[in-house]
Structure formats: structure tokens, C-alpha cells
Subunit: 323 residues, 2 copies
């Protein structure tokens, strides 16, 4: 920086002003500085800027296994939008959902002076850990249902689940079971709630709740319990639905005529299952975008929005597993 200043015949402080677009620099001066910067191929050191300005222009993303479709897509969206705003993204995956590892991860972000934190928190323990976060760093949770103390952006699971169930009802299915995710995942719980609500509203009893673990294997295994008892099933994610389809095919049950199936997520493969899966699409990109936008607002010290808990509406994608 001092070299640039010398070459341009100004002080280093003027160079700093040019870099940061602080006003009050004469055009001619700015030109000279920019030229000197180009000539010396000068690039400001982000660490030093962060240290002096107390803004690192970095955000942290805490995730639980980005290999999963939802979190991976959300992360991708966050990174893309963050970069567009000049922020870089540091990630940490927490494999152990215990409280202590999460606390450590958040502290480690704070040590690195991130300006903000996004937690992709599809699990209860994450919610607890975020609330307990000691960091003082602006934080937004996505794909989570956290209490009112934390800003949140998530897909409306309840309406998605209700949408799925209502679709099955419309198509004339009566005994609609639900293959749910693990009980300690808020989104699993909300999907159960949406399913229950839709059935109750239709005057039907919400019996027939199965618990899987999100894996195709669990769908495969639990599907046997549907046969003879249900004529449709709303499955809490597409992967389990794949397992269910396979089990039904093996059992010689005709989908969609003998059994309707609706999934959740709309993973890229869903349209090519056999039969192609009717499912609920979650707009993870939108979740990531809104999450980042909210965080940026908090970083810039805007008053928290009226809407602390933002919901993105999912959409129904009808394919071949419902008649």
C-alpha cells in the first residue's frame, strides 16, 4: 500500500480512501492511485483490513452434512449470493449433533471474526445449540424451526405436507398413511402435523404413522406395513419414497392405482423414478437467498424485520405416482 502511495505521490491513507470508496478524493487523485494500483498489481490484504476495520467480510455457515440434497443446495445458494455481495463463506460441518461440538464450532467462527453466521439446522439439537451460542455474532437459522429468539427462514413444511395429503384426497385415496422422518427433526414433525391437519379437515382419522430415518433402506423396510392397510402414503422425503416404490413393485402392487405415493423435496432424480414421483418441491435456493439477505440486514444494523420467522411456500409437482 505504501508503495502504491509513493508511486501515486499521495499518502497511504488516500490509497485506503480510494480502495474503500470513501468520498472526498479528487477525481484526478483517484485516477493516479488506481493507475498505480494497477501498475504494481496491488491487492489489499483482507486479513489486515479485517483486523483494522473489525469487519472481515466473511460469513460462517454451520451445516450438518452438506452431502444431503437440501442442505447442499441451500449452502450453494448462500455462497453464491454472499459472493455477489463481496462476502466470502467459511463452512464447518458438524457430524456430531451434540451440544458441545456445536458450541465449539460457533466459537471457532467467532474467533475468526465472521461478520455473521448462518446455521443450516434441520435438527433439534442444532436449535438448542444456536440459542445457547455465546458469540454475539448476528445469526440466522435456515431450514430450522427455532423459537422466536432467532431469525429463521424455512420452507413451510406444514403447508407442504397438507398440500401433499390434500392432493391424495382429491385423487380419491382414502386411507392415507404417512411415512415420517425421525422425531427429533423439526421438519419431520411439521410434516406429520400437516398430514394430520389435512386428514382431520377432511373428516378422516389420522392413523397409520410410520417412522423412517430418511434413507431409502428404511422406506423399503417399512413399506410392507402399508400393504393391505393403506391405499396411499405420503412419504417425508424422496429417498424413502424410492425405497417404498421399490418395495411396492416387488410386492406386485400397482402404483398409482392400488397405492398412491407422494414424496417431499423433489430431488433431481425424482422425475425419473419408476413411476416418476409426485412430490413437493422445496425452493432451497430461495431459502438460501432470503437467509443471506436477512443476515446482511442484521450485519448492517437494520432493525430486525417484522417477519422474524420467514416461510417459503413449497409447490406440488404432480407426476405418475398419483392417479
Amino acid at each position: 500500500m505504501y508503495d502504491v502511495a509513493r508511486l501515486a505521490g499521495v499518502s497511504h491513507q488516500t490509497v485506503s480512501r480510494v480502495i474503500n470508496n470513501h468520498g472526498n478524493v479528487r477525481d484526478a487523485t483517484r485516477e493516479r492511485v488506481l493507475e498505480a494500483m494497477a501498475q504494481l498489481d496491488y491487492r489489499p490484504n483482507a486479513l489486515a483490513r479485517g483486523l483494522a476495520s473489525r469487519r472481515s467480510r466473511t460469513i460462517g455457515v454451520l451445516c450438518f452434512d452438506t452431502r444431503l440434497y437440501g442442505p447442499g443446495s441451500t449452502l450453494h445458494a448462500i455462497e453464491r449470493h454472499a459472493r455477489a455481495q463481496g462476502y466470502s463463506v467459511t463452512i464447518t460441518n458438524v457430524d456430531d449433533l451434540g451440544r458441545e461440538p456445536i458450541r465449539r464450532a460457533i466459537e471457532s467462527f467467532a474467533d475468526r471474526s465472521v461478520d455473521g453466521l448462518i446455521v443450516i439446522a434441520p435438527h433439534d439439537s442444532a436449535a438448542i445449540a444456536v440459542r445457547a451460542a455465546p458469540s454475539g455474532v448476528p445469526t440466522v437459522a435456515v431450514e430450522a424451526s427455532i423459537d422466536d429468539t432467532v431469525a429463521t427462514v424455512s420452507v413451510n413444511q406444514i403447508s407442504g405436507a397438507a398440500m401433499a395429503t390434500e392432493h391424495l384426497l382429491e385423487r380419491g385415496y382414502q386411507r392415507i398413511w404417512h411415512l415420517a422422518g425421525p422425531a427429533d427433526w423439526p421438519e419431520a414433525q411439521e410434516r406429520v402435523e400437516g398430514w394430520r391437519k389435512a386428514l382431520t379437515q377432511a373428516g378422516l382419522p389420522a392413523v397409520g404413522l410410520l417412522r423412517g430415518d430418511w434413507s431409502p433402506a428404511s422406506g423399503l423396510e417399512l413399506a410392507s406395513q402399508l400393504i393391505g392397510n393403506a391405499d396411499a402414503v405420503f412419504v417425508a422425503n424422496d429417498q424413502m419414497a424410492l425405497g417404498v416404490l421399490r418395495a411396492l413393485a416387488k410386492a406386485g402392487i400397482d402404483v398409482p392405482n392400488e397405492m398412491g405415493v407422494v414424496g417431499f423435496d423433489d430431488i433431481p432424480e425424482a422425475g425419473y423414478f419408476m413411476p416418476a414421483l409426485t412430490t413437493i418441491r422445496q425452493d432451497f435456493d430461495e431459502v438460501g437467498r432470503r437467509g443471506l439477505q436477512t443476515l446482511m440486514g442484521m450485519i448492517d444494523g437494520k432493525p430486525p424485520d417484522a417477519e422474524l420467522q420467514q416461510r417459503v411456500e413449497p409447490t406440488l409437482v404432480v407426476r405418475e405416482t398419483t392417479r
Copy 2:
């Protein structure tokens, strides 16, 4: 830090020595310092440490869409192992594969003083960009076939493709076609090469090369050309294979008896396709692990390994799409 020093009755430099485990601190002194740190809940500022020591303990990962299964898994492995060694991970996705955006991304990493860089570079343009990288930062490419100037860790695509093709030959298929990925992806090219090699070795002509774009849609579309011409197909990834399976089912062709199918990747869903997909498993975790290990060696100034180009061997997973 000065507060800690005062409380412990030592100089700040001694506190620094304790933090960094530099020897030459009496046990009693170290104890006092640690206690003071605990009492004040002191946490060193990573930015300042990086600035002063010229080591940020951060690595950058440059990726091309982490939503894909391979890159996502590799990233996950890299992050996990990096964290275990006290490094944090900053990511950038490059959507535009042009040379300029990649150069910018690499420069941006350099500006942030990353100690090392891992490029998940499944595409030709990435290879070019990495070679042109001006950064002076230790760099490792993974999932790439870069020339000899850059350290690389990748799955051996050629042997994987040969393995797939030989498996089909063993099972008695004769007219074995290949549905390849885009020509500007090195791994697509290497899979073509492996397929060709295996057929040539068996004294068969390598005719029947189709080009898809990795998507299930392209598999679905191109599968029609197989019918009547091939009795087996080696598909360059599992997603296209899904499309192929769907097309074959629609056409009433029996898999595996009338047509054998082998995929590549072993995505989590592959075992639940209908029929379950025989495929080649890539150990992305191992790729990530070795990539990080190599990078750490370079950062610590070890002489570059004899093996600049490391290869991880894939494995064949036999399921139901081959008889």
C-alpha cells in the same frame, strides 16, 4: 492478551508462547497463564494471528457446484479432515467455467491469505485456470486430470471404466455401448478410454459411443438408440443410468436379460433403482482425505511426493442390472 498477561503477571509474549505451545515456558508459569486465560475467557483473534504470522490456518476450496454428489462428498471429506487439523475451510463455487471467473476466484483466495488451495476440478477449463493461477499458494487438484505441473488426487477413471466393461463381458454381453459424459470433462474422456481399452483387449470393436450431459434426461433420451443395437451399456454416471433404465422399462426391454446396464459413482439411491443398479463406486472420502494430506505436506514445506499424480482405485458394486 495484555489483560491475560497482566492477570498472570507475565508479559504478553509469554502468553503468546503458551498459546502456540512454544517450549521454554516453565510449567508453573504456563499454569498461571492458562488459568488467567480461562478466567477471562480469552480467545485469540485468528485474524491478528494470521496477519502477524503469515499463516492463516485457512484453506480455500474452489468447486464447481457442490450440489453434485461427487464434488459435494469430496468437499465434505476435505472439510472434516481440515478441521481435525485445526484448519478452517473457505469455499467458492464457480458457476461460470470461463477462465476469468476462475482466475478471480483464485485471486480472491490469495487476498484472504489462504495457506493452501484445493480445486475440485472436474472440467477442462478448471485445469487450464489452475495452471494459470498466479497465486503462489500451494495447490492440489482433486477429481481432475491436470498435467504434471500440479499435484493431483483422483479416482482412476480408466480402470473403473475398464472394470465396468470387463464385468459386462464376463457376464456374456457382446455389443457393449457407452453412454459418455460431455467431451470437455476429463473424467468423461477417461471413462471412454477405459471402455475402449477393455473392448479392444477382448478383441471387440468399440463402436457405439453416445454423448449425454450427466442428466437423467439425457439418459432417457439417448437410450432409444441402444435398442436393437446394443445388448449392454456402460453409462458414465448413475443419474444418466437412471434415465436409461426408465427408457428401457417404457420400451418393455428386460434388464438385465435383454440389456445389461452399469453405472458410475454409486450414489446413495443407486441400490434402490428398479432394477438396482450395478455400478462403479468412487471413494470420494478417500480422494478428499488424500488431497488434504498432500496439501498439508506442501504447506509444511515437505518435498513434493514422488507421486505427484495420485490415483484412488474404484470398486465394482454388482447389483441387478447385469445378469
